[in-house]
């Protein structure tokens, strides 16, 4: 069981900055995120795009902002549970919470801060009628264990980097790799596109374009897929395969958090914006893009503000008897949990003779 003061759900900019504000109050944080790396949307969707409205940064690339935030919070030693999705929450008798991920990892904290942005990123599933019947029975939306496909036939659909990269990787493992894409053009890295072409020329990858998978068939396990060429139903044909891996990128979904008993409005969690961004469940806060209140703006800079007020409120919940006044970092410096200390240099006082 992982124990912490504030359990943050979501490693986007708002969740990361919350670690800093909590650290100033000597509160420890642990972050859960469904993605394998911190940064949320900024890392997953647009790491190379510039942002122009971070106060003090006339221009900063999204990926750079995440790097900076990670550096800023480093000395507060946040824990991370990455690649796992927060699934269940149980309130304990003492008012604290246990949050369990989809991998079964348990986290115990008196305060939960949901900084889930648009939700957790989950694979986009193509609208094929019987697809869900074969999930994990031949249909996989991501490759977790490539060895599973050894000496099996695999059909991959998609035209982006992950479709290209996995086609290349599995070409050496699977008995047969067929890549199906709706266009003749692929939009992945040039070297990946070139490599797929090489593998196609030597017969290690079968390329079917422009085409898409329109149906899946089988009994207990997937046995074949229907492929439509040129968007023309008359050209449909069936292809036997052991596995079908649709790779159409990720999209965010609020997911299991929607069932935690929180008040939801417009696909976001309602919070008290007059005070501390607490939800209808005391001890659970929602900050950043995941929350809503009158006048809400989904901006990183607003998330930073919300994270700061949330931490002050969390401190008062955890330490109801402690007296506290906010201190400027310029005055108090930053004392990390790792023993490091940053502070403003003392002014030199010297007389001039």
């Amino acid at each position: 069981m992982i124990k912490t003061d504030i359990l943050i759900i979501g490693a986007g900019p708002t969740g990361l900055f919350a670690v800093f504000e909590a650290g100033l109050l000597k509160l420890k944080c642990h972050i859960i995120d469904a993605l394998p790396q911190p940064g949320g949307q900024l890392s997953e969707l647009y790491p190379k795009k510039p942002i122009y409205d971070i106060p003090g940064f006339p221009e900063v690339k999204a990926g750079q902002l995440v790097d900076n935030l990670m550096e800023q919070i480093k000395s507060f030693q946040p824990g991370f549970t990455l690649g796992e999705k927060a699934q269940d929450i149980e309130k304990q008798e003492d008012g604290s919470f246990i949050v369990t991920t989809d991998h079964g990892t348990k986290h115990h904290a008196p305060i939960i801060a949901i900084a889930g942005g648009l939700g957790s990123f989950v694979p986009r599933k193509p609208p094929i009628a019987n697809l869900s019947l074969f999930e994990n029975k031949g249909v996989h939306y991501m490759v977790k264990d490539p060895e599973q496909f050894r000496d099996k036939s695999v059909v991959i659909a998609g035209g982006g980097d992950s479709a290209l990269d996995w086609s290349i990787y599995l070409a050496d493992i699977a008995s047969e790799v067929t890549l199906v894409h709706r266009r003749n053009e692929f939009r992945g890295a040039l070297e990946s596109v070139d490599r797929v072409k090489e593998l196609k020329d030597i017969g290690k990858i079968k390329l079917i374009t422009p085409a898409e998978i329109v149906d899946v068939h089988g009994g207990e396990h997937l046995e074949s897929v229907s492929i439509r060429m040129n968007n023309n139903p008359e050209e449909d044909f069936e292809l036997d395969t052991d596995y079908f891996i649709p790779l159409f990128g990720l999209s965010p979904k609020l997911g299991p958090i929607a069932d935690w008993g929180l008040e939801i409005e417009k696909n976001a969690i309602k919070v008290d914006n007059t005070l501390d961004y607490q939800t209808n469940i005391p001890g659970i806060y929602a900050i950043g893009d995941v929350n809503t209140y009158p006048g809400k703006l989904k901006l990183i800079l607003c998330g930073f503000h919300e994270a700061t007020l949330m931490c002050q409120s969390a401190f008062r919940r955890i330490h109801p008897d402690k007296r506290y006044v906010m201190k400027y970092t310029t005055v108090g410096g930053v004392t990390g949990f790792d023993g490091t200390r940053k502070e403003a240099p003392k002014a030199v006082i010297r007389s001039i003779d």
């Binding site: 969707l45 647009y46 648009l118 609208p127």
Partner: protein, 109 residues
């Protein structure tokens, strides 16, 4: 100056709306400003052509700007794509759009 645009929502209801040409708005933002699709189901990526949640079908012969590479690439990965599909976030509102008619594509689920 405003232009009149007809927007058919995901339930099939037609709305005629005034879209401003002087606010640097795109069609996705016009749809959101009139709340013709629930928040969180349209314009999820904020207008970067990185999701297809604002996909629409163009139903009039109104002249529109050509698709850029990013829009083409996203439409190649999107679902429910038709020949007249566009990403509404990539369509800035201009005076030439007077009389445009579009239908919002189904949301991916």
């Amino acid at each position: 100056m405003d232009v009149k645009i007809t927007i058919v929502d995901r339930e099939g209801t037609s709305h005629q709306v005034d879209a401003p040409t002087d606010m640097a708005m795109n069609l996705m933002e016009v749809i959101r400003s009139y709340e013709l699709a629930p928040e969180g189901t349209i314009g999820i990526c904020g207008g970067m052509a990185m999701c297809a949640s604002c996909q629409c079908y163009v139903q009039s012969n109104t002249p529109l700007p050509e698709k850029g590479d990013e829009e083409e690439a996203m439409l190649a990965e999107a679902f429910y794509v038709e020949d007249n599909s566009r990403l509404s976030c990539q369509l800035p509102i201009t005076e030439r759009m007077e009389g445009l008619k579009i239908e919002i594509a189904p949301s991916e689920e």
